[in-house]
């Protein structure tokens, strides 16, 4: 079991108010699943994503990633988890503007301590996988939204992470480009990656094979997407 979440709760204090963002969440995600997490704003889905992505720790409960209890890790250990196991993809790409595509993709490997030759090789491979082999020296400002998101995806892939965690990946793109990105995600899923998608758009969520609804800090529903028109049905072995 890749991800196991048991009785997870998260609350925090905002000013004078105590906010109970997540209440007693229980969830399991297997390797190579393609999951969409949906919910209205304020539902706690962002908080949940932060915890999944090791950017935050739960107040109570357990988060086991590949058997390791993430909730009790030190700051450095969490950083290592993010580096090696989590591939983030953000709505507004979050590339470093002063670096070119290749350098952006290499960055996680620099923090892993990978030597420069191997780094370059792996970064080139990742960029090739997303179809940007001819754009490696371009900076953000020289690329379209779709291309930037591809670079971000390449950056997420380059460390061979356990999960790809995508937060509204098509939110800043027009529908045609958005479709292209979703096609790419499908391919990555077929490659064997585990994909967790956070979205508020049903159309995007329909690409996944399982949809989890979060509302008021709790899991409202958790269903397989049997009727999946946009993705070929993928049979797990």
């Amino acid at each position: 079991m890749l991800i196991e979440i048991k009785n997870l709760s998260k609350d925090y204090v905002m000013g004078e108010v105590e906010v109970l963002a997540l209440k007693d969440i229980n969830l399991q995600i297997r390797q190579n699943e393609y999951v969409a997490i949906m919910g209205p704003s304020g539902s706690g889905k962002s908080t949940f994503m932060n915890i999944l992505g090791c950017l935050d720790t739960p107040t109570t409960g357990e988060y086991l990633f590949n058997g390791t209890d993430v909730s009790s890790l030190t700051d450095d250990a969490l950083s290592a988890m993010r580096n090696k196991e989590i591939g983030f993809i953000f709505q507004n790409f979050n590339l470093l503007p002063r670096l070119n595509a290749l350098q952006n993709v290499e960055l996680p490997l620099i923090y892993s301590g990978v030597k420069s030759e191997e780094r370059r090789e792996r970064a080139l491979k990742a960029l090739g996988r997303v179809g940007l082999a001819d754009r490696i020296h371009h900076k953000s400002s020289e690329m379209s939204g779709g291309q930037r998101q591809r670079v971000a995806i390449a950056r997420a892939l380059v460390t061979n992470p356990g999960i790809l965690l995508a937060d509204e990946p098509t939110g800043a793109l027009d529908s045609k480009t958005g479709d292209e990105i979703m096609v790419l995600f499908n391919e990555l899923h077929q490659d064997g990656n585990t994909i967790i998608l956070i979205t508020h758009e049903q159309e995007i969520a329909d690409h996944a094979h399982r949809t989890i609804f979060i509302k008021d800090g709790m899991i409202h529903s958790d269903n397989k997407n049997e009727l999946n028109h946009k993705t070929p049905v993928f049979i797990q072995s």
Binding site: D56, D76, S79, R82, K84, N94, L96, Y111, R155
Partner: protein
């Protein structure tokens, strides 16, 4: 960065000025002899001289010298000298010079280096030979490119054979106590015995000799020796203060003390400049960190640890301060050279001062970059990513 540049440049310039002054002083006192006590015959008006003679003092004399040699503890050697101002003549040229009658111990006591020929020896002294050794300036004026050795010079009405020429010496640019400023290169040396026999002072009442130089065997003996010398002379001169005792070492110490105050001030100025520079860097870095909050969040999200962020920003701070340091060093060196070229002030740039100044700039970068870097590292990734 300006603060760093200015701070480093001023450290280097001030240090070089200080070092230049120190070396000048040492050279000056080196010539007078660091372990020496110099007793000078006081310059007095005719009336004063008459008074003093009436009170039984004969002025500085060879007897004073022998008493000092016998009684004062720690004396290694003693040299007496008599002086008159005169003109030295050679063929059609003449040079105004000070003719100094000296004893053979002279050579060993003072820093005189011979350029050609030899200095006056015991034999010439004993036999009262009419020989002379010329200062570099006199030789140049009278002989130009000719070899002075063996030539005959006329001083007063005496013919003297030149047996040696001295190397050029640093000039006294100021009066040291009673030692009047004088161009030492215009001195002509003859044996004291010859002098006393053949030259006479203008004024009949003048003392026989003008200076006694006493060398002791260690600077720790100077204080006691000069006290004893003072007692001896007081008694021998019947309480007439017609002499003065100059201890170059004490003067050197004095100047050293003054210089320390100067150095302290320089240090304070430099420290303040560097502090100001450091604060400037800190402010730049704090602003930079704020601007790059989002970037820091992204880096953290993809796996940078707090220490990675810290070293990134400390390195950037050090880069700024090192750049400032390099410019400051260049500026400081240029300033020092300019000052020594266009003013009277000598400067001396010591390599270690460049390293120190540079080292300080690195230190400033690290110290003042630390806080902003720590701020950067402690930003919460979740919040930072959302920061606009």
């Amino acid at each position: 960065m300006l603060g760093i540049i200015f701070g480093v440049a001023s450290v280097i310039t001030m240090l070089s000025i200080g070092e230049g002054a120190k070396r000048e002083a040492i050279a000056k006192y080196q010539d007078l002899g660091v372990n020496n006590i110099i007793i000078r015959d006081k310059k007095m008006t005719d009336t004063e001289l008459e008074e003093v003679r009436a009170k039984f003092s004969q002025g500085l004399s060879p007897e004073d010298a022998s008493m000092i040699k016998e009684i004062v503890p720690g004396v290694v050697r003693i040299a007496s000298q008599a002086e008159i101002s005169s003109e030295a003549k050679y063929s059609d040229k003449s040079a105004k010079s000070t003719v100094i009658g000296i004893t053979p111990e002279y050579t060993e006591m003072l820093n005189y280096k011979i350029e050609r020929g030899k200095f006056i020896d015991d034999n010439q002294y004993k036999k009262e030979l009419k020989v002379c050794v010329l200062g570099a300036g006199v030789a140049a004026s009278l002989f130009r490119s000719e070899d002075p050795i063996g030539k005959m010079l006329k001083i007063e009405d005496q013919w003297m054979e030149v047996v040696g020429v001295l190397k050029s010496k640093a000039l006294f640019t100021e009066t040291v106590g009673e030692l009047a400023a004088r161009d030492l290169n215009m001195d002509v040396y003859v044996p004291l015995t010859t002098f006393l026999g053949r030259f006479s002072h203008e004024n009949q009442l003048a003392s026989k000799i003008q200076q006694i130089t006493v060398q002791v065997d260690g600077s720790d003996k100077l204080e006691e020796a000069s006290k004893v010398i003072n007692e001896i002379l007081k008694r021998h001169h019947y309480n007439n203060e017609d002499y003065s005792i100059v201890v170059p070492y004490e003067l050197l110490q004095q100047e050293e003390k003054e210089r320390q105050i100067y150095n302290f001030l320089l240090g304070a100025i430099a420290a303040i400049s560097l502090l100001v520079g450091g604060i400037g860097i800190m402010n730049i870095m704090l602003a930079t960190v704020m601007e790059r909050t989002r970037e820091i969040g992204i880096r953290r999200a993809i796996g940078a640890r707090k220490s990675d962020i810290m070293s990134q920003f400390v390195t950037e701070a050090v880069a700024i301060s090192i750049t400032g340091g390099i410019i400051g060093v260049l500026l400081g060196v240029t300033l020092s050279l300019t000052v020594s070229l266009f003013t009277d002030i000598t400067t001396y740039i010591q390599p270690y001062s460049i390293f120190i100044a540079f080292g300080f700039s690195v230190l400033v970068g690290i110290s003042f970059g630390y806080l902003p870097a720590k701020n950067a590292a402690n930003l919460k990734p979740i919040d930072s990513i959302r920061y606009e």
